[in-house]
């Protein structure tokens, strides 16, 4: 097994709260969870940080590790880069400036909107699509859970991913640059914090994809920031004019927002990790799929459905739509691209990680596959999950890998117990003569 460092994950388990039920193992899109010793365990190399388990746990035992608001004070100059999803958490929000000013009340020196950075990404993506050098269909790179999903499950689609940094990363680059210019501080004295709906973003800050060094210093969950902002919002005396984003950037919070901003004809927007898996399977198989761009987002509804949000996904979606319409009436400020193409592109290639292979030697792998098929045939095919694996197939795989035994299956165990009981009855009949009667007269 690989070291923990190679596979940092933000998703954590509170072992006191975990009941060892099987809700999370069933919903995991990469079959990365097993229940062992009464607790859910994550197989590190398989986890893609999508946050499905955080959502599906009925006991709130799963959470994503993020920084806390207090952590921002470790930096001399503190910048908040809020995801547009943050704006969808509040009722009747008419002016984004209220939220941004509120963030400054919480201790930030400046704010830079990720919604603004989406404009930079959209412009650059349009240019790349027009050049036509990318492998069709181009898959968006904004959702880190989708990128991680592709690296473990869709090796043939890695070259389809848009090789461009995410809006969060672009926002961090611009914000830090501007702050260095404004304050004269060293880049390391500036703390850039993403206000996040997303568990996978919390991971990508420590263990980035496509970039060598992390560009963001920390991630704060919308949940935490929302609670801290609420009591402040009513007390703000002077709302500062800080917001520079336009309606198109705000719409990125919901599924289809990125594709809408690109204004292309042949696109597919898909949201929810299971739907993403189904679509990508088809993209991998179907040569004739006539699509230029795929916007794939791991959470249902898009980022508004992120596990670190407060508001109901669909309510938030409506609020974002309303806000975008208000902004549309105001018109768009011109897009200034303060980053070079080199700064917008990935500096590190993304590679396939085969987390499924049974053995490096194909002959051994085939032997194991055969054994696996034999084991699977004997299992009940109920996929009940009581063994701690998500399906009978997964259990047969675990047995072959040496992590489980056949009697982990409660049906198999029952069969064995029955067999044992039958043998006991049989033995009982085999009592020595001194214990039973015969037909003779004595």
């Amino acid at each position: 097994m690989n070291s923990n460092q190679q596979y940092y994950h933000s998703v954590r388990l509170d072992t006191d709260k975990c009941k060892g039920c099987i809700n999370c193992i069933k919903g995991c899109p990469t079959e990365a969870i097993r229940v062992r010793d009464g607790k859910a365990k994550i197989i590190k190399e398989r986890c893609i940080d999508c946050g499905e388990c955080i959502r599906s746990c009925p006991y709130q035992a799963k959470s994503a590790v993020t920084e806390r608001l207090d952590d921002i004070f470790n930096y001399r100059y503190k910048i908040a880069i809020p995801a547009p999803t943050l704006y969808g958490q509040f009722n009747n929000l008419k002016d984004i400036n209220l939220i941004l000013t509120g963030l400054k009340y919480l201790g930030f020196d400046d704010v830079y909107e990720v919604a603004k950075a989406t404009e930079i990404i959209t412009d650059y993506t349009k240019k790349l699509l027009k050049e036509g050098k990318l492998q069709r269909p181009v898959i968006n790179s904004a959702c880190p859970a989708v990128i991680r999903l592709i690296t473990v499950r869709f090796p043939n689609l890695i070259n389809n991913i848009l090789p461009v940094i995410s809006p969060m990363e672009a926002a961090a680059k611009v914000a830090r640059k501007e702050a260095v210019r404004k304050t004269g501080l060293r880049p390391s004295e500036i703390g850039v914090f993403f206000i996040s709906p997303c568990a996978a973003k919390a991971t990508s800050v420590r263990s980035p994809l496509g970039t060598l060094a992390p560009l963001v210093d920390g991630v704060l969950s919308i949940k935490e920031v929302y609670l801290k902002l609420l009591p402040i919002l009513g007390k703000i005396e002077k709302v500062e004019d800080l917001s520079t984003c336009a309606f198109a950037g705000v719409r990125w919070a919901g599924a289809g927002g990125e594709a809408d901003a690109l204004g292309i004809e042949k696109y597919v927007a898909v949201d929810g990790i299971d739907n993403v898996v189904k679509l990508l399977e088809e993209v991998e198989d179907d040569e004739k799929l006539d699509v230029d761009f795929i916007e794939a987002l791991g959470c249902t509804g898009g980022c508004v459905g992120g596990p670190l949000t407060v508001e109901n996904t669909f309510v938030a979606k409506t609020k974002i739509k309303k806000l975008a319409e208000t902004l549309k009436r105001k018109g768009q400020r011109p897009v200034v691209i303060p980053l070079s193409e080199e700064e917008l592109r990935w500096d590190t290639p993304i590679t396939y990680r085969n987390v499924l292979n049974l053995d490096d030697d194909i002959l051994v792998a085939m032997q194991k596959m055969e054994t696996m098929q034999d084991i699977y045939e004997k299992l009940p095919h109920l996929d009940c999950g009581s063994c701690g694996a998500p399906s009978c197939k997964a259990l047969s795989e675990d047995i072959v890998r040496g992590y489980s035994t056949e009697t982990d299956c409660i049906y198999k165990l029952r069969e064995k117990v029955r067999e044992l009981a039958r043998q006991m009855v049989e033995l009982e009949e085999e009592m020595p003569g001194s214990f039973k009667s015969d037909n003779r007269e004595y």
Binding site: E281, E284, D286, L363
Partner: protein, 142 residues
């Protein structure tokens, strides 16, 4: 070296278009578990998918048998459909029996068999009108 082989069998329901791609998805996972290179998986995935669709649309359903050895992957699609009267013609890119309306909807581009040939290392077709068709594809493993 090639004596060891994994056999997989798939039933392809001719009345259910929504199952198209299931066999392909399943075989892709098996190949990943065996550590087969992504380029080979891609060839198999596309061939398998096209074959599944052909078996549903033209063959009215059938079976697919896949044999994986350490040297190759052999896929045999067998149906009891109407058969192909002129195999040579069916193999031409763009040849299609689909109506213009179906083409408008994105079906019947006439690339099914040509794609299967393109993405496999060997392909043979045996067909008898009124009896059915057997397509055998080989993808080399290396």
């Amino acid at each position: 070296m090639s004596e060891k082989a994994i056999s997989l069998h798939y039933e392809i329901d001719g009345n259910n278009f929504t199952v198209a791609g299931q066999a392909s998805s399943s075989i892709k996972k098996v190949l990943k578990q065996l550590g087969v290179a992504p380029e080979v998986i891609r060839k198999v995935a596309i061939s398998m998918y096209e074959g599944e669709i052909n078996t549903i649309i033209h063959g009215k359903g059938g079976v697919a048998d896949v044999t994986i050895s350490s040297e190759s992957i052999i896929i045999v699609f067998k149906d009891n459909g109407p058969g192909i009267p002129d195999i040579e013609k069916a193999m031409q890119s763009g040849f299609s029996t689909a109506s213009d309306e179906a083409r408008e909807l994105g079906f019947g581009a006439g690339m099914g068999l040509p794609n299967m040939k393109k993405y496999s290392d060997n392909m043979t077709i045996e067909s008898e009108v009124g009896k059915g068709t057997t397509v055998t594809l080989t993808v080399n493993l290396q």
